[in-house]
């Protein structure tokens, strides 16, 4: 052994001067607390059960999410398809055809009344009913979706929309619109 090994680093270990007094102690009686054990076991089972329920819940949520997602996709496809048909139904070609079907005629010489002084521009003559058909502006989609919808309350050439009109329904002119005093 070299001298290095003899070098003592740090504090010297305290030397016991006296032997500590040892004595025998009585062995404690093993006390099995039934309540505690029951509680612990129950808690353990409860944790396992709760965990299982949560797991099942999460799993079934996955199914629910999947089904809701599917439903969402289905509904947005419906919405898109309905919007698509609506865009065709309100195309000018279709509206013109529907208007003509209702017996409406376009008046190419409009008449204007200036409300402030009652001045009239234009001929004031109503448009004449024409038998000329409107030149169709092609839209291939009208054949697919552009069927004239028959709705309740919408007039056709043979059926009036409103059979009778009550007197009270007539509108009274609101104030603020410049109007000449006519009789």
């Amino acid at each position: 052994m070299s001298a290095v090994a003899q070098t003592v680093y740090g504090y010297p270990r305290p030397q016991a001067t006296t032997r500590p007094g040892l004595r025998a102690v009585a062995r404690p009686r093993a006390r099995v607390n039934v309540t505690t054990v029951t509680m612990l076991v129950t808690a353990l089972i409860a944790i396992v059960v709760v965990r299982m329920f949560i797991y099942v819940a999460v799993e079934s949520s996955a199914y629910e999410i999947a089904s809701l997602h599917k439903q969402n996709v289905g509904l947005s496809r419906d919405a898109q398809f309905l919007q698509e048909q609506l865009n065709v139904l309100d195309s000018p070609q279709n509206l013109a055809a529907m208007a003509a079907e209702l017996g409406m005629v376009s008046n190419s010489s409009p008449t204007y009344i200036q409300l402030s002084d009652g001045q009239v521009w234009g001929s004031g003559k109503p448009a004449k009913a024409t038998t000329t058909t409107i030149a169709p502006i092609a839209n291939d989609l009208i054949g697919a979706y552009g069927e004239t919808p028959s709705l309740e309350g919408v007039a056709t050439q043979s059926v009036a929309a409103v059979a009778t009109q009550s007197e009270s329904a007539s509108t009274t002119p609101s104030t603020g619109i410049p109007a000449p005093s006519t009789h």
Binding site: Y63, S91, A96, S108, Y112, W121, A135, I137, N139
Partner: protein, 584 residues
């Protein structure tokens, strides 16, 4: 060997054994994780994960008020797996293959024979198309049939709810991308990029929550907003169809431009392609003639020439000249009018009203070739408009160093030079806007999904003639509307209009033929110009005078004014001196 040595050796062997085992584990781990890692990972992914295409949506094209002219929609391909094709049991009943095909044919309208061929051609195959591009309601009907070997695939498609209204502008898509129109020339704005994602699924086919990995995001296309008003566009097409149809013409165009901002409200072509059914149109009718087909405009060029000469101080409205029956061109040749006459005494206004070719050339006698050229090009003729539409033509004005003696005179009444209707609309916009040219605009902009806007309209303006010249010229054109050849048919009740007619001869193989292109270009209301309308009808059969373009002009202009709620005209008609022979 003593006991302690024995223990040491045992411990030694044990340590070597442990070290060896650990080494094996480490090597194996290294192998799995690093060397063979990627392959195993991809194999695992292939077993569990399902790759999906995330479809980007191609942007829509709308008109100025948001009306959809082109949009992307979902369609579905009905497919089958031929190797699984067999009869099956549904609700206790056995359904044969033929029965199943009949049911699909009823639901989709597809041809049963074609479908039968598709599934029997290669019975070992896993994939065959039964029918393509059905709508969601049809798909649901097919799904309700519960045929186990029938599947569906999403197929993004393009639809054009307004049909041929603006079909000439919007263009259409082919199988591999856009073919023409805005679809083509703004494809960099509209086009989408598909992405991919993967998700993992359990044995029952249900997606495992949280397992979706987007490997590449889908990028949606931007939407293009046009300046077109689809209602006016429709009305214009309707008006053209009625009038051109009556005249037995080959084609017709109309353009409506708002004066103050140069926005094109309608750029109508007749016949116009229905992008939903391209096959129904001739190839010639698939584009926009307004931009792509140059023609010799005829007399509608005259107001521009007169305005330039007024602006240069060469003439005044009352400059009186003698318009000869035959105008002898200095250097040889002569020019006639469309009607034979002796010497006519006309003012500059009178020359416009009578639309005299010899008169306008007489007025321009003092000008040089270069001055004539500069006059025409200052309005933008000879170069494409700011719209820069797909295949837009520049027209042709021969440069002064190349132009011959005859052409320099015929150009002043619209012969021997070509323009597009769009260029004429731009020139009339300038004339109506106090001489200030605002670049013609068709596209308001492209809005990307993140809100950035590109492709904005150009706004640099150019003063071509003075406001005073513009006002005077419009008053002269009001006299044309009242006393000119088409006076009876260009009236718009309630409004003062300023117009010029044009009857251009169509040249073929260097010779003028009996075919005509007739047009009326006008501005209204004359006292406060707001709209320019140009109607051009090509190759009419029954009547070949510009008079017959008048009714279409008046109808369209009337509708434009009414639709845009322009107040009826005020002020008096500016009566002007037409010269001794200007009237009648």
């Amino acid at each position: 060997m003593n006991r302690s040595e024995l223990v040491s050796r045992r411990i030694g062997f044990m340590l070597i054994g442990i070290a060896a085992t650990v080494a094996i584990f480490i090597i194996r781990l290294f192998w799995i994780q690093v060397i063979d890692g990627p392959r195993l990972a991809s194999e695992a992914r292939d077993r569990q994960s399902i790759a999906q295409t995330l479809y980007g949506t191609r942007g829509s094209i709308t008109d100025t008020s948001g009306v959809v002219l082109a949009e992307s929609v979902e369609r579905y391909d009905i497919t089958a797996s031929p190797k699984f094709v067999a009869e099956f049991t549904r609700d206790g009943a056995t359904i044969t293959v033929t029965q199943a095909l009949t049911e699909i044919a009823t639901a989709t309208g597809a041809d049963q024979g074609v479908m039968h061929t598709a599934i029997t051609k290669d019975p070992t195959s896993d994939f065959a198309y039964l029918t393509k591009g059905v709508t969601i309601d049809v798909l649901r009907k097919v799904q309700a049939l519960k045929i186990p070997w029938v599947y569906s695939d999403l197929r993004p498609s393009r639809t054009y709810p307004r049909g041929s209204v603006a079909g000439n502008l919007v263009g259409f898509m082919g199988t591999d991308g856009p073919l023409t129109g805005v679809e083509y020339y703004l494809n960099d704005c509209l086009k989408e990029t598909n992405g991919t994602s993967t998700y993992e699924r359990g044995a029952d086919g249900i997606r495992i929550p949280g397992s979706t990995i987007v490997t590449k995001d889908a990028v949606h296309g931007g939407s293009v907003e046009l300046t077109i008003d689809s209602d006016i566009q429709w009305f214009a097409q309707q008006t053209l169809a009625a009038q051109a149809g009556k005249l037995g013409a080959r084609w017709a165009t109309a353009m409506v431009v708002r004066v103050k901002d140069g926005e094109i409200l309608a750029a109508a072509d007749w016949p116009s392609v229905d992008p939903n059914n391209v096959d129904a149109s001739k190839v010639d009718d698939m584009g926009a003639r307004l931009f792509s087909s140059p023609y010799e405009p005829g007399s509608i060029i005259k107001p521009l020439v007169v305005a330039s000469m007024l602006d240069n101080g060469v003439v005044t409205p009352n400059t009186t000249i003698t318009a000869p029956g035959r105008f002898k061109i200095p250097g040889g040749g002569y020019i006639k009018d469309s009607f034979s006459h002796g010497d006519l005494s006309l003012t500059t206004t009178g020359v416009l009203v009578k639309s005299s070719n010899t008169g306008i050339d007489t007025l321009s006698l003092a000008l040089t070739k270069k001055q004539r050229y500069d006059m025409l090009t200052s309005w933008g003729l000879g170069s494409a408009t700011a719209v820069g539409f797909l295949g837009e033509d520049s027209g042709r004005i021969t440069p002064p160093d190349q132009v011959d003696d005859v052409t320099q005179y015929t150009e002043l009444f619209g012969q021997g030079m070509t323009v597009t209707s769009a260029q004429m609309a731009q020139a009339y916009q300038t004339l109506a806007n106090g001489g200030t040219q605002v670049p013609l605009t068709l596209v308001k902009g492209c809005t990307k999904p993140d809100g950035t806007v590109t492709h904005l309209a150009k706004t640099e303006t150019k003063q071509v003639v003075s406001a005073e010249t513009s006002l005077t010229t419009i008053q002269m054109m009001e006299n044309v509307a009242r006393y000119g050849s088409a006076a009876k048919v260009v009236k718009v009740p309630g409004y003062r209009v300023a117009i010029k007619t044009g009857t251009a001869e169509v040249a073929r193989n260097g010779k003028y033929t009996s075919d005509r292109i007739i047009s009326v270009a006008g501005i209204a209301p004359a006292e406060n110009p707001q709209y320019v309308v140009i109607v051009t009808i090509g190759l009419p059969k029954t009547s070949r005078s510009s008079y017959y373009a008048g009714p279409a002009f008046a109808t369209l202009m009337g509708q434009v004014l009414k639709y845009n709620r322009v107040a009826p005209s005020t002020g008096d008609f500016p009566e002007m001196d037409l010269g001794r022979d200007g009237k009648g």
